[in-house]
Symmetry: C2
Subunit: 342 residues, 2 copies
DNA sequence: CTTGAATCTGTTATCGATAACATATAGGTC
DNA sequence: GACCTATATGTTATCGATAACAGATTCAAG
């Protein structure tokens, strides 16, 4: 209806309120010296014009864009959603917004995304995971803003880190299996190198098996990450066909574990009596499945919260302080799905 | 290490490449007239300086920011994630990015979010849902950019619409229940007015019950949306306590339905023989539950894809064309969880 | 009534890019 | 060679805000 005309500018508001644009600019900042009445007049003028600040112009001029960039692999993942919530809540009081992007578990996509985000000049960057393309690493290094890597423990960090060792977390599960008396143990995960955290889990899992003197051959890679319930179901079927005497299986995530559980039950198997199944991530579904799924809680929300605290410090310190590495301790949640019947 | 110095500008690149800034600017646009060798020289110069375009400045000057704003209620929801995927894929070829924000099912938060987003001058806005605060409506109307509401059929649309009637979708389930021979039918949903789509579903459900001459009293509101698996479990326990002879229950989403299913099974009830349970949204979990959950597929991804097509048209037409209303047809997926034993 | 500090407001230059216009060079045609 | 067109590059003004500085007003205290 109104056509696409130019939205009102600060100058328009200033004109209507009978002041200079600079005064309008000040009136929108919380603690700048503007007479209360002037401020009211300006607010009224702005509201009546439907004025909305142009933060691209503001950012250009002030060199403060007021947001931080965050990448996560997938938007539909309770773990990353929790981390993001922790981050958002932790940053709430600073007024910093979050520009969110998802990489689809793809490093090339991450590189594209990071470049796109850097074009908007974020004041800091949070990336999920410790593996990045060389160019992505260079871009982030050049950006001259604080960088935090979460959900991992990179060998060669870009800056600060809030994470845990996925390999060590997975080995917790092997310890648990062994303690419960299981010996013929398998692993189900994705089949590509895209999900480096998933691969780390597998690696840690297999290493732990060997440490316990157990066979590490029962590994099934199935489908592109993030591996779905359906893929978990197919995978366990294939795994049991190949190694029918398998006693226990860890899946790379709770979603695939649930798919596996469901497939076993539909095939008439009892869990855990006939086969034990465990997941990873402490999703809601693990708690509510029948039987409840043993899983590993990595403190997803805490990761985000810690990252927020760290960012606030890094931004205050003007980048001069040494980047930190904050370690999160994963915890095993032992549940019915891996309870050995004595 | 490098401190926080200013990142290189286009002028720096131009200087290094021995051309004017304008030529550098052109070299970054795909189809502008720059000699191939010059372009290469510029790219090399840019890469060696670690130059990244400043799109705030570019946007200010060109009045094209190259992104659209999208709000969804929650990031951790497979349905909205699917819509977003449809939107992203549909917009991919246009080069438009998506600035994502989530409202947490809260209209006040939506208002805040929309204002924040409009400050960055998106070229269009996609909002989930048809209910908005008055000020939010005003902001969007003033923004003079195309607006698309998805996932609803608002009485008084802000612009274009891609959605369906949540009430009509829920009534499909009543028809199904009745057809299966169920008579004492309940509903489980959230207890606040925040999730207007959930409330629409309830309203449509209850209206359909009355149309069939059935009692509409078995309604349980439980917890803030989005209602979780745990709340679904508690809710069905409470509902069965109050109305022990309930034959069938629809839950506002598949997640709560799964929680309810799980709680019933743990209480020793057989589904569907003792009680039928249905959900909403066609999540993965509905397919993989035991028994598989009857649900309603609303075509989440298609909503996003259609919204993308619509946006492209609206942006081309310069806003002059009449806004459209695209209707998506929800489909009932009848599964084992509501199969009446004859 | 003068003075100094605090508060309020205006002026000018600038952030980093691009639009619009101007100019220069190359290539083809008669 | 004259002329035209297409391609390639440079110059100038501008987008909408804010920083930095400067000037005006207010107010309290001596």
């Amino acid at each position: 209806m109104a056509g696409r005309r130019h939205p009102p500018t600060m100058a328009d508001v200033a004109h209507l309120a009978g002041v200079s644009p600079m005064t309008v600019s000040r009136a929108f900042k919380p603690k700048s010296s503007v007479k209360e009445e002037t401020r009211r007049k300006i607010r009224e003028a702005a509201e009546s014009l439907g004025y909305v600040l142009d933060s691209t112009a503001a950012g250009l001029s002030s060199r403060r864009t007021g947001f931080i960039a965050a990448t996560i692999p997938s938007i539909n993942n309770a773990n990353f959603a929790d981390s993001l919530r922790g981050l958002t809540e932790g940053l709430a009081e600073t007024g910093l917004q979050i520009l969110l992007g998802y990489t689809d578990y793809d490093l090339a996509e991450e590189e594209r995304l990071v470049e796109q985000m850097l074009r908007r000049r974020p004041e800091a960057v949070v990336v999920t995971g410790g593996a990045h393309s060389p160019r992505c690493r260079r871009l982030l290094a050049n950006a001259a803003v604080p960088v935090v890597e979460i959900w991992d423990q990179p060998r060669d960090p870009l800056g600060a880190v809030v994470g845990f060792s996925n390999a060590a977390a997975a080995s917790l599960m092997v310890d648990h299996f062994v303690e419960q008396g299981y010996r013929r143990i398998g692993f189900i995960g994705g089949d590509s190198s895209r999900d480096t955290r998933g691969l780390d889990r597998r690696r840690g899992f297999l290493e732990a098996l060997r440490t316990h003197g157990l066979s590490d051959e029962r590994v099934l890679a199935y489908g592109l990450p993030p591996i779905t319930m359906g893929q978990g179901a197919e995978a366990i079927t294939a795994l049991r066909e190949r190694w029918p005497d398998t006693e226990a299986v860890m899946c790379v995530s709770d979603l695939s574990a649930f798919g596996a559980l469901s497939a076993c039950q539909r095939a008439g198997l009892r869990v855990p009596q006939d086969i034990a199944i465990a997941g990873f991530g402490a999703y809601d579904i693990a708690e509510h499945a029948n039987p409840a799924l043993t899983t590993i809680d990595v403190g997803a929300k805490e990761i985000g919260a810690q990252a927020a605290d760290l960012l606030i410090k890094l931004l205050e310190d003007g980048d001069s302080s040494s980047p930190q590495m904050i370690q999160i301790e994963p915890r095993l949640l032992a549940r019915a799905s891996t309870q050995r019947r004595r």
